[in-house]
């Protein structure tokens, strides 16, 4: 069946906790070798969707096929060929770097000698060569994250799930992770990641889905989503008298939004707007290209999610 040939297929997924439906009819189709991003504000249902796909929680409705295996019925068989980088660091603090990989490999039924043979390559990949005997609490946040990624690869998986792989990392560490993830896709591995860093999604993902309130509200390549949902230019304006100026803005721009003391003007053509702003010296402005973040904010709103 065609529907079962993708790396990950989910159809009409539903999951409720108590009276709240956290996942309300999600469809996903991730092709083999693709980097797929699941974006959404906190509480959108991303992590629950991942858990459903891994067979760690039972769906109330819908069907899942992970690497051709029906989930949750054959989730164990599917997970044999899957790696997971969880949202929260759960490296084993009682072990060294190398022991973390060896102990984790045993959960896949690998023999110690088999895993030991893979450890140098994994540490190389993680940029941790020479640190095999280090204790976990001596590693930086970026090193821990890379080790978690290496641990997810201990079984040489075909597909890797990553739940917010770079949250809490500094830019250097983040860029290094991105570079490694690109290397994985070049090796033909399928990646499914959740994130709320738009820059991450824009750089890494071939395709992404934006999720909110348990539903997928938009799907496509980063470029296509920007083209489809938003004007190509954004001008951010602030300064004294901006409220009075907003009426002018509305006459010049197809879409104007206010967030606090800043006005966001979305336009196809910047000429008239910028010319007008030159006459308002009291207003400061920033002109930039529209990004995925603008799409995200348009679709999910600017309200805080806690």
């Amino acid at each position: 069946m065609r529907a079962q040939t993708g790396a990950l297929i989910a159809q009409a997924l539903r999951k409720s906790f108590g009276a709240t439906e956290v996942v309300s009819g999600v469809n996903l189709a991730v092709a083999t070798g693709e980097c797929f991003g699941l974006l959404g504000p906190n509480g959108a249902g991303k992590t629950t969707t991942l858990k459903l796909c891994l067979g760690l929680t039972e769906p109330d409705g819908g069907e899942i096929h992970l690497l051709g295996e029906p989930v949750p019925r054959r989730a164990r068989e599917a997970r044999r060929r899957v790696g997971v980088v969880p949202q929260f660091d759960n490296l084993d603090p009682d072990f060294t770097v190398a022991e973390n990989l060896i102990v984790y490999g045993r959960y896949f039924g690998l023999r110690s000698a088999q895993i030991a043979a893979r450890v140098p390559g994994l540490l190389d990949f993680a940029g941790l060569a020479g640190r095999e005997r280090s204790k976990i609490n001596t590693l930086s946040g970026g090193m821990k994250r890379r080790l978690t990624l290496a641990r997810a690869l201990v079984n040489d998986p075909q597909l890797v799930f990553m739940d917010e792989p770079t949250t809490g990392l500094d830019p250097q560490a983040r860029h290094l992770i991105w570079e490694r993830l690109r290397r994985l896709t070049q090796e033909g591995k399928t990646l499914v990641l959740t994130t709320h860093f738009m820059e991450e999604a824009e750089r890494l993902c071939d395709r992404l889905a934006i999720m909110d309130h348990g539903r997928i509200i938009a799907e496509g390549s980063p470029r296509a989503l920007i083209a489809e949902h938003i004007e190509p230019h954004v001008v951010e304006v602030h300064g004294p008298g901006f409220e009075a100026w907003m009426d002018v803005a509305r006459s010049l721009c197809p879409r104007v939004e206010r967030a606090g003391d800043t006005v966001f003007c979305y336009v196809d053509e910047t000429g008239p707007l910028l010319a007008n702003l030159k006459g308002h010296r009291e207003l400061s402005y920033l002109h930039r290209q529209a990004s995925l973040e603008d799409v995200f904010l348009k679709l999910t709103g600017r309200d805080l999610r806690d």
Binding site: F17, L54, L56, T57, E58, R76, E77, R79, R80, V84, P86, F88, N90, L91, D92, P93, D94, F95, E99, V103, Y104, R106, Y107, F108, G109, N155
Partner: protein, 251 residues
């Protein structure tokens, strides 16, 4: 039941084997002080009890009790830190392991530590001449069963815990009274009939009832009943632990 749980057992073993000696000494200090203090001190006043010295009487009870505490500590505090604080279990179930595999590994592991504690007590009791070595060896399988029963109960309690403080309720409201009622310090025939009936429902009583005669080379009357009750606690406790832990983690 698959054997995948062994990977979980081996994980815990790898951590523990470096700390084994101080850990065993730490676990044994308390019961040994009690055993020697009460056994020699009170024993001098009491003389003989049920045909043996009071020290020998206490020894059987303390072997079972140390086993119970070792299994309990491991399945409460240590398991809680792996489940909740370190999120180790969450990491394991991302691999092709189920929560039942994890719990089986943890249960077997806690029983292993209980066996280590119980066996050390047996060595000391035998070294002081209160049990023949071959009878002490015969008690080992019973120790394992006691360990499994309390490991399983501990894991069920662990699944309900919201923090380490929660465990003090279980210990002070369940384990400590049970120790008083289970014939560890004195024969339960001292107590009113109603209390005796209550005591006989509790698992520790059955552990003591088997271990104590075994150390003097006798099989307990109704041996299979006692072992059956311990086995039922192990099986029932484990089943409960799987239900409660699944409810806690897999939602």
């Amino acid at each position: 039941m698959s054997l995948r749980w062994i990977a979980v057992w081996r994980r815990n073993w790898l951590v523990w084997r470096r700390l084994a000696i101080p850990s065993i000494l730490g676990n044994l200090a308390d019961p040994l002080i009690m055993l020697f203090g009460l056994g020699y001190g009170l024993g001098a006043m009491i003389g003989e009890l049920e045909g043996t010295t009071y020290f020998a009487f206490l020894a059987g009870g303390f072997v079972a009790t140390s086993t119970m505490y070792a299994a309990t500590f491991e399945s409460l505090f240590s398991a809680f830190s792996r489940m909740h604080v370190q999120r180790t279990w969450e990491g394991i179930v991302n691999a092709p392991m189920t929560l039942d595999d994890v719990l089986a590994g943890e249960c077997a592991w806690a029983a292993t530590k209980a066996l280590a504690a119980g066996a050390c007590m047996l060595v000391i009791v035998a070294a002081f001449g209160y049990a023949e070595p071959r009878f002490a060896v015969a008690a080992l399988p019973v120790i394992v069963l006691v360990g499994l029963a309390f490991a399983a109960l501990g894991l069920a309690v662990n699944a309900l815990a919201n923090g380490y403080d929660f465990f003090s309720y279980y210990m002070t409201l369940f384990l400590t009274p049970m120790m008083m009622l289970s014939g560890v310090f004195f024969p339960i025939e001292q107590m009113p009939d109603a209390v005796q009936v209550g005591a006989k429902i509790l698992p520790l009583y059955h552990g003591v009832a088997v271990v104590r005669p075994l150390l003097s080379g006798e099989l307990a009357p109704r041996l299979w009943l006692h072992l059956g009750v311990l086995g039922a606690y192990a099986a029932g406790g484990f089943y409960l632990a799987t239900i409660l832990t699944r409810r806690r983690l897999l939602r």
